[in-house]
Structures are given as C-alpha cells and as structure tokens.
Symmetry: D2
Subunit: 306 residues, 4 copies
C-alpha cells in the first residue's frame, strides 16, 4: 500500500494541469496549487500517506458528511423532513430546485441542504456551543485534539457568502428555520472552515468504511445501517452535478470540498483522504480525483466490481 | 440462498399494498398485480428462484441496460457524445433538461437518453435488422433462444407514445439524429417490449456481476472496466428521480422497468431479477424494491457496507 | 401619410445591417434580404404603401392572429381552456413552460399555443376543409381572392418541423388534442405558409383598428370587446420574449412572423403591415421593427402617449 | 365623471367576495377589507373621487413606478444594464429567472428588479438620504407635503422579508450591487411602506397620462418618450404573472401593490388610483381590478380600442 500511495504522489507531482484554485473565497485563493497529499486508513489501524499529508487545509464541504452524521444522531429519521436524498442534477449553489420544491433541498450535500442541517443541529443553541460540539466530534473522530477552525477562512466566507445567504433566507421564507439566518450561516461557515490534514481526515472517515465503528477507538459512531446510507448519499450526491462522473471514474462514495480535499470510502476496505487545491470546472479537486482513480485501479476497490 | 428467496416470496405474497399497475400503456394495464417473482443468479452458474419466475413480463426500461451495452460495443466512448452520465434529478419523461442542455440527454437511462441510444445503434440500418440484433444479443445473454418481442405491447406503446415522440422530435430538432424519428421510435418501443422472465433476466445480467464475463457461456461481453461503469450508471440513474432512494434503501446498481421488473447487480456476487407489476408513485416496482431490500439485508450484499 | 411611408422606405433602404434571414426553414432561407415594404391602411379605406408592397411573402406566425380570431368565433371563451393569455417570458418554441404547466400553453401566439388553436379549429374536420375555411377567411379579410398557400414552404416546414412536432406530441400526451398530431401539424404548417403582401395584410388587420368591423366590407368580424382583447394579446405576447422590447420601442399591438412580416395595430387609427426578411436575434424583422418605430414617432400613434 | 366613480363605488360596496388581505406582512394583515376608494385625475386638473379616498394605505409595489422614474432621471438608459424590460412570466418573488439569467432581473417591477433599482438610486449614499429624496419626489408629484413612510409597516417588512433578502443576496453574489445588501433592503422596504390615499396617488401619476408633464405644477417630470416607456413597462409587467390578464380585462398600463392599491394610466386622458385591500390569488387588488374594468367600459379609455 505504501508503494501505491508513493507512486500516486509521484505521478501527481508530474502533472502539468493541476486545475484552478477556488477564487470565490479570498482566503482560499492564496493557497499554493502545487500541493498534493494522500492518506489511506485501513480498518486494522494502519495508515499510509504520501505528499504533504500533515499540511492543514480547509475541509469545506467535506464537513457536511460529519454534520449530517451528527444530525442523524440527534434527529434520527426526522432529518429527512428537512432535506431529501436524491441527486439534484444542479450545481452546488443552485436555488432553482429550492423554488420548485418549496424550499426543501434535494439532499444534505448541496449547500442549501447543509445549511438546513446546520439549522437542525443548532436547534435553539448558540452557534458557539454547536460549533464546540462539532469540533469535539471531529477531534474524537480523528483521534486528534489539535483540530480547530480557521477563523480567517470563516470570516472570509462570511464576507463573501451572499449566495449562501440567499439560499438561507430563501429557506427561511418558507418558515423552515428554527434559528435566525445569521446563527445558521455563522455555524455553517465555521464548520466549513475546519482545518485538517489528510491523515486526520482519512482517520475520521474510517467509521464509514467499517460498518459504523471507528476502529481506532472501538467506538460505534452510527449503526451499520446508517453508515451504509451515508455512503450511499456520498456516492449519489457527494460531488454535486459531477457525482455521476466521479462514480463512473472512481466508483467510491466520496465527498469533495472546494478547498481541494476529497474524502472517499471503500466500504469494508479503507477510508481515503486526498488533497490538492486545484479544481476542475465543477469545483472538485482535479488531481484528487485522478489520484483516487489510480488508487482504485491499483487496488480493485471500486464498489462496482474489480 | 433458496431459503432466502423462498422467505422473500412468502413475505411479498402477504403484503396488502402492492402498488398500482402502470396504466399509460394499455397493454400493460391488464396484468394481474398479484404476481411476484425473484431469481438470483450466481457467478458459479447456480440459480435460485421463487414465485412465478417463469412468467414472461415486459422488461420495458430494463432493456436500456442492454442497448447501452450494445452501443458501447459499437461506438465505444463516442456514446458519451450522445448522452451524458449524470443523474437528472427529473422524472423519466422530463423534457425540461433537454431544452436547457441543447437536446443532449443527461444519461442513457432516462427515456430521452435511451431513445438517443436507439438512434446510435440503428446507425442507418433498418429497425428490423437492429431489432433482430438486439434480440440475438438478449438470447445470447440469457442463454435462451425463446426470447421474443411482444408485438401487442409494442403496438400499444406506439399508439400511446406521444411523450416519447415529443422527446424524439425535440432531439431531432437539434440535428442530433442519424435516422428518422419513426425508425428510432419503432426500434425503441420494440426493444422495450421484449418479454422475459426473472430467470432469463437474472442470467442476462450476470456479466455485470462478473467483471464483464458471462459465466454461463464464458464469453466476455464487455471489459471489466466497462462493466463497472455500466454498474455505476445503473446505481446513479437506474431509477430516475427515485435513484437516490433506491441506493439508500437497497444499495445495489439496479434498473427498473415500468412493467414491474428490476434487474439488480451485486458486483462479484450475484445478478438478481425481481418482478411484481404494481408500481410506486415514481414508477418503480413496489414489491420488487422491498424484495431487494430484504435480500440485501439477509445477504449483506450492499455495495455500501455490511 | 404617403410622405411618411416614402421617407421610411428610403431610410430603410440605406441601412447596412438588415438582420439575418431565417435559416431553419430552407424555403425561407433563399429570400433576398434587401427587400422592404410598408403599407398603412386607415379606417376610412385609404391605403398608403412604399417599397415592394405587392411582393408576396410567407406570413408565418402572423397567421396566428387570424386563427385565434376564427377560434374565438367558433369556441368563444372556451378558447381559454386550451391556451392561457399571459406572456411566457420564453422563446417561441420553448417546451419548458409546457412541462411546468401540464401541457397548457401560456398564450395563443407561442408556437405551442397556435398549435393548440389549430387543434381547436380542426375539431374533427379534415385539415383540407379547415385550411379552405382559413383561406376563405383571409381572402375575405383582405378583400382579395388571390391569396393562397405556398405549398413549397408548407412542405419545407413539415420536413424540418421537428421542434413543432415535439410540442404537438407533448400536448397530445396530456390528452389535450381532439385530432391526430399529424392533422394538427399539417393544418398549422399550412396556415403559416399563406403568402401575402403588405397591402393585403394591412387590409386584413383593419378590423382590429376599427373596433371589430372591417371598414372595406362593413362586415363586423368580432365584437368591439373581442377586438380589444386580441389587441391586448398582440401587445403582450406578439413578439415572444421580445414583446417587452417591442412595446417599449414601438408601443403598438403587433404580431411578427419569421418570414419577416409584422402586422401592427394602432387602435382607432390604422392597421400597418411591414416586411423585411432579415431578423434580429429573437426572430423578429429587424428593419420592420425600426420602420414601425419611425412611423410611430412621426404619427404619435403609440398607445402609451404622444 | 363624478357619476361614474360614484356608480363604481356603489357597485363595489355591494360585492360579497372582496378577496383576501395580504397576510405575509403582519402589519398589512390587520387592514379592514371592506374599504374601497377611487380617484380619477384629469390633465385639466379636475379630480373625481368616491369611497374613502382620503384614507391612507401602504402603496407597496406602486412605489416601484416612482423609483424607476427617479432611477431613469439619475442613470438614464444605463438603468437597463441593471434590469431588463420583458415580462417574466413568473410570480413577483421568483428567483428561478435570476439564476438562469446571471442575476439580472427581467424588469424593474418584479421584486428583484425593484431591489436592483433601489441599489442604483442609493449609489453610495445613506439610505436615510435616499429615502428623503424619494419622499420629496412623492410629495412634489402628489403636490402634498404630508406624505410619509409608515415605519411600522417598514419594520414589519424587514422582520418578515426573508424572500426579498434572498433575492438581494442572490444578486449581490454576482457582484451586481454597489451598496450593502442591508442598505438596499432598508431602502426598498421603506419606499414600499410609503402611505398615501387615492387622491394623492392619482395626482402623482398624472405626468404619465400627460406626456411627462405634471399638469398641477406644470413641471416636466420626464420626457414624453420616457413617459411612454414607463407606461409600456407598466402594461407589460405591472401585475407580475397577472399582467396579461389585466391587459386583457382592463387594457390600461397599471401597477398594483400588495396593500391593495392600483395606479392606472389612460395616456392622454387620466391617471386613476383605486384601493381595496382584498387581493386575488396572484396578489392584485380584486375589487380594484373590477373597478378599473368598469371604469374603462364606461369611458372607452382602453388603449386597445373603444
């Protein structure tokens, strides 16, 4: 496995087209695009990394996997009154579907859906408390107490977050929100601004590869049934209107973030985190996707066959 | 396994709500809704069935899996100039997406996509020749020379096929068609009217569970890579705007037909065909979906974990 | 008035950018773009023309004004169960609105709406009979027995009419049609292929400028109330998604055709026909619109003030 | 004329179905629905009123006519870089069109368009200054210094204005705004909360009926050309997706407000204000529309003929 990840990192280093760094959040725009990291965590506790796997990056939308997990723990199946579980066929920030479906987002991974999830887990608490809870959860999942929120990124998002504010006010106009739009957006922007490296991220995702149990701690995070369902949502909707392409090329449940990270799950086999800040036109990490494609080719881990 | 399929058939027989038989194709509307069949074909050649697994039914949209397979064999990757590979988020017969995307269907499994595939495999030939080729392919896949087209159903579809005619003319108006709309629709309606039973269908799908090789004949139908990709498309788009729900509940690549059949694939493990004519509101077999849900629970075959 | 129309014709002759002749109907594409005609018919029976006002052209969608008039005569207010009377905000051949509104077109002047009107006036008759009736009506309106259908154009439209066929089949799929799609499309394509010159067209529109009475014959075509309503529909919807622009610049009820003609009505004052085959990007006659703008500036005929 | 307005008021008093008072702005919901007023102002300075024509009501969206007039005065034709001038075919608060057209509203009378106009007239100033300017303009137009903003209504709108906030943030996300979303919304909600009676409103609209000149003051408000264009926009877009219906039934340029007022213009003849708080399902005053329909029938003022 170490050989495989080293080969992949070497191949990625030689690529000339690394995609374009996200520009719409100013704080993300200044990241060096020539970075690449991969970490593969196995259920037996072993971990294989290559590239700058200790460099922190903004996990952005990957955090949606964990806030969904928290929301499922708190609300159970009532989560599905707030968001659907179908792919949207639309970009991550589309509002058209919201108008056609009375303010209910298609799934928890488009921005509107994750904002609705943020409202659900706030549930009348202060954003500060809820963010502390999210952070505790991430630290526990990653088995690493050092994880924090990058306040500069959070502020940068708040200042430029008109599209997300539009989505939030739109849902609020249907009376769907329990909390103020400001509290919800504050929570959302902050959990998107959690900084992690690929080692922490791959470790955090292990419970999804291991039937709901985090093998490093032995702790059951979710039921085995729920782990499968989160995986199914990641496969169906984890890459927005590029989800079909990712399933086609990689064949693993995965969730991308605009910071260039991707968390992928090979059920029963591995949790994988890759990071490279350059994005493809849809907004998913260009080299990250290519690295996962290679990894699956080498390991035969596609859920769709060898 | 025989025990499992028998149990499932028994449970399904006891259900009171069996959904509503499709009414928009008159010939399908007169099927008895109290029927259920399941067949599980394993790569080792063994086959387990329960219910009326020898009763023929109209495979309808399940045929799209096989016409896509044929088209990939003929055109290779050029197929993707004709159809995309993303879920559409829309019903099977929606035309909105076509207008927004200049007449290119989102994927080969929505009606518009399958009609475009029919145009691609016609490629200037007579519909009769192309249909003969499709039938030969189905007989070879099922290892059963008795498979035919139900002409009554085909005629019924032609007479009531205004929505599909609308989709076809719409695409033709962009200059996307090589053949006349009539030839394309004739081909499409006829391949949807192939009649099969669950035994034949489960056998036909085995190549998708077996890395592209049909184990009953030993013949390689498609490359292992292509088998994975067809599976990914089935998972992402095989149940129209109910694909997310099917992935969430069943967790297998699958393709439904409005005749009440579903072909599902457990990669490396099994090809499964179920049939029950009653449909849920989205147009997928109600008991068929429930039966697959039970099967996966008993076998742990979900691609998303145990 | 003769001075005004002569001036306008002279100004139009000097324009270098005359727009592009419609290319999607092959028979229309071979018309010489350097032609211009204007005719102004007054309620007192006087007529002022300039340019090639005796040259026949394909009236195309202008015919929709007259089929709507016929349909109102036959069905009365029941016409509004078949089509709405709101602007669509969409191009003339859009199908999106039809899907969102269950197959009922927004107004009688978008293609779908006029096709629905053709179905309504067919009402079980043969297309040949209905077309004969439409022709009789046009000849009576224009007070000219020579008006006919250009069969070459009609055939050209039939052969290239996939978009309209798509719209027709779409509506038929909702069960909205009384007649076969072929009969409806045949009727529609033929009435769009009526050939007229600006003199005939301006004369035909006089009843709309004269409270429903054709002053050349003294015959009441429609009630004064209905004349106003047809005028309102022409203003709101007569130029598709360019209707706002036409109202803004010209300020008269008008109906354009892709053949380059426009019929405009100055209520109480005049019926005006202009023709120049070059179109603007939305599909309305470029010089025709400019000529009307000039005419209104010179005459103060805008319905919105001097 | 006094006889006509008295008759209309009497007829309206006898109607049993007066529509439903707008409920989404709490402060508007408590208005007594059994009120009706009409005022007709003629260019010669005479004024005819009936009903409670001195009762103040919230002019709401009618204010958009005056902010557009101001914006045209400040920016001239550059206004059209901010908003289009086509009917939208969508409800007043739709966001779908905004996404499809990159954040540019279809016209200045849908909410998004009027919010964009508020941004344009703010142009870096404080909302307080701009609102003072709007008020001065309204007082001058109405020739009445007593006109003010109803602060309770403005606050009520701010508190429940999520849908408008969504529209504003959406446009801001395209970088279209010069001012902060809060300043723009504050301005917008306040100018919508101006309280006027039908006498003041009819007087204010006279310049549109009189080629741009306010006859009570002799002051030219806009060029005659611009007056026509504002009238054309009112006719095409003044009643949202009920504009076609209003043109069909009434046949005058008009602008409705959710407070139950309508300002209508008979070019060259009269400026008319009606008020009755009950709305039809689209959000336009039910009795107000009926009263205008009667008035036009009695006076022959329709722009579409007698």
């Amino acid at each position: 496995m170490q050989q495989i990840v080293d080969d992949i990192a070497a191949q990625m280093a030689s690529k000339s087209d690394k995609g374009a760094v996200a520009s719409y959040i100013p704080q993300l725009a200044c990241v060096d695009p020539n970075q690449f990291a991969i970490s593969v965590a196995l259920p037996d506790g072993s971990l294989y990394s290559a590239g700058c796997s200790e460099t922190l990056f903004s996990i952005q939308s990957i955090s949606k996997v964990f806030t969904l997990t928290l929301a499922l723990g708190k609300l159970g199946e009532r989560v599905w009154t707030r968001v659907g579980r179908e792919p949207s066929g639309d970009p991550f920030n589309s509002i058209v579907q919201l108008e056609h479906e009375h303010g209910k987002p298609r799934n928890p991974f488009v921005n509107a859906g994750a904002i609705a999830i943020a409202d659900a887990i706030l549930h009348g608490h202060q954003p500060k408390e809820t963010l502390a809870e999210i952070l505790r959860f991430m630290r526990f999942m990653a088995n690493d107490e050092s994880i924090t929120i990058d306040e500069k990124v959070a502020r940068s998002e708040l200042e430029t977050g008109d599209r997300n504010a539009s989505l939030a006010h739109f849902m609020a106009s249907f009376g769907h929100f329990e909390n103020s739009v400001d509290a919800v957006l504050g929570t959302y922007f902050h959990h998107c601004s959690i900084a992690m490296n690929t080692i922490q991220l791959a470790t955090s995702g292990l419970f999804l590869a291991n039937d709901g149990i985090n093998p490093t701690t032995g702790y059951r995070v979710v039921s085995s049934n729920r782990a499968k369902r989160i995986n199914s949502l990641m496969l169906m909707c984890g890459h927005y209107d590029g989800s079909g392409e990712f399933a086609f090329r990689v064949g693993l449940p995965g969730k991308s973030g605009v910071g260039g990270g991707i968390l992928a799950v090979a059920p029963g086999k591995a949790s994988i985190a890759v990071w490279s800040p350059g994005l493809d036109p849809i907004g998913n990490s260009k080299l990250g996707t290519q690295a996962l494609e290679l990894l699956v080719k080498r390991t035969g881990w596609s859920v769709f066959g060898k």
